[in-house]
């Protein structure tokens, strides 16, 4: 047991050092290490969650972008289709319209011609009548003083015959 004296071994001191160490364990663990490791774990979990979220978000974004592209493509083709059909339709309708207009114009012309013709005949007959009356009146005025009735009548008839 001399070695114990040589190194000054004292069980009380050993117990004191053990108590020191126990205090260190308790304080360091409960005040520093435990909350710190817990916080580190929490942060790790959060980072992992954030990364996976970002992953899904990126995937979702890609998907949405793809969808938008598809939709855009579809819309473009649809618009092109609509445009061509519209052009076709308008062409057809324009032609039809022109045709119709031409027809109407022709009709109007025909009608106008007819009217003009009928008016002309009416006018001619009226003019004839007027002329006869004017001539009769004029002749009566001219002949009232000189010529005999027979000659008059004969002359008038002659004139009338010529006019007709």
């Amino acid at each position: 047991m001399e070695i114990l004296n040589l190194f000054g071994i004292d069980w009380k001191l050993m117990i004191a050092q053990l108590i020191n160490f126990a205090i260190v364990i308790i304080v360091l663990w409960f005040f520093a290490l435990k909350p710190l490791t817990k916080k580190m774990q929490e942060r790790n979990n959060e980072i992992a969650k954030g990364l996976s979220d970002a992953q899904t978000a990126t995937e979702r974004l890609d998907q949405v972008e793809k969808e938008i592209k598809e939709q855009l493509q579809q819309t473009k083709t649809e618009a092109a289709d609509i445009l061509t059909t519209a052009k076709k339709n308008s062409e057809v309708s324009r032609k039809a319209e022109i045709e119709k207009t031409k027809q109407e114009v022709a009709n109007i012309i025909i009608k106008a011609k007819e009217q003009i013709a009928s008016e002309k005949t009416v006018m001619v007959s009226e003019v004839k009548k007027d002329v006869v009356e004017i001539i009769v009146a004029a002749l009566q005025k001219i002949l009232a003083k000189g010529l005999s009735k027979d000659i008059d009548q004969k002359y008038i008839d002659q004139v009338l015959k010529d006019i007709k």
Partner: protein, 291 residues
């Protein structure tokens, strides 16, 4: 016979004189040496009742006090987004856990042992380094140094060694189970298995008794672990202090500086060695013995 015993006592007194030169005897020390005497044991500073407070214990208290302050600082500075200080602490903790994984190969087990191992490391590290501070050892009180590195006292290292080995054994009992753990040392299983196996394999008659005796060697090795842990740490730290004191006594300016750096490194290394060995003991104790 008489002369022989006489010469023996003479040699004994001679050796004690040699030890005296090392500053063994407390009473003669005052006259023989001044401040820089380094005794193998920690010197008493004052008494509380019949409890003697030594300078090493005083330094240990200082270390505990500093660790408590550090813990409190960490406690009240913990944030989700870490400050630089917190990042450094976290880096150390993470590095320690990764290093422990190399030994245990099991994160779960590392986490279970972590508080004990890390606290051992920190406690020893603070004690080692406090022994190196310029004031420590040179402030004298009542003829003795007021402070002396906590781990430069065998009481401290022996207490830590005992704790480490006993805690490893308790951990082994918890993990492996009482009966299995008991059979590691007194291998009744091996003896009891002989009658059942002997018809299939007669060699168990020779092998299992060997296993039984290997168990006794395990008991011896547990004691050896305590001794090797405590003496290694004590020897290194004490030698470091003696070295620094000697160099300072020779040339006080400039020359001790590289040695101080050396001792700082040794302080870390020895704390690390103690902690890693404790970890190894824990790991060995918690692995089931295979036959």
């Amino acid at each position: 016979m008489e002369t022989k015993s006489n010469s023996h006592s003479q040699s004994e007194s001679a050796s004690s004189e040699e030890v005296l030169l090392l500053g063994q005897d407390t009473h003669q020390e005052h006259s023989a040496h001044e401040e820089h005497a380094h005794t193998l044991y920690a010197e008493p500073v004052f008494n509380i009742g019949n409890f003697t407070v030594t300078n090493s214990l005083l330094t240990s208290w200082l270390a505990v006090f500093l660790i408590i302050i550090l813990s409190l600082i960490i406690r009240f500075k913990i944030k989700k987004i870490p400050s630089v200080f917190q990042s450094v602490v976290e880096m150390i903790i993470d590095g320690a856990l990764n290093m422990m994984d190399l030994v245990t190969n099991d994160r779960q087990k590392s986490r279970r042992i972590f508080p004990v191992i890390f606290c051992i490391f920190i406690f020893i590290l603070f004690n080692n380094w406090l022994g190196l501070l310029p004031g420590v050892g040179s402030i004298s009180f009542d003829g003795h140094s007021l402070f002396r590195g906590g781990t430069a006292d065998l009481n401290t290292t022996l207490a830590l060694g005992l704790f480490s080995v006993i805690a490893a054994n308790i951990f082994g009992v918890i993990v492996v189970g009482g009966w299995n753990y008991f059979n590691k040392f007194i291998n009744l299983k091996a003896i009891l298995a002989i009658p059942a196996k002997v018809t299939k394999d007669p060699t168990v008659l020779f092998i299992n008794p060997i296993h039984f005796f290997v168990g006794f060697i395990e008991i011896v090795s547990e004691v050896a672990k305590i001794a090797s842990l405590s003496f290694r740490l004590f020897g290194n730290v004490f030698a470091g202090e003696v070295l620094l004191a000697s160099i300072s006594a020779l040339i006080a300016f400039g020359v001790p500086l590289p040695f101080i750096f050396l001792e700082i490194i040794i302080g870390v290394i020895q704390a690390l060695i103690f902690a890693v060995l404790t970890l190894v003991y824990f790991t060995i104790a918690s692995t089931a013995h295979e036959h």
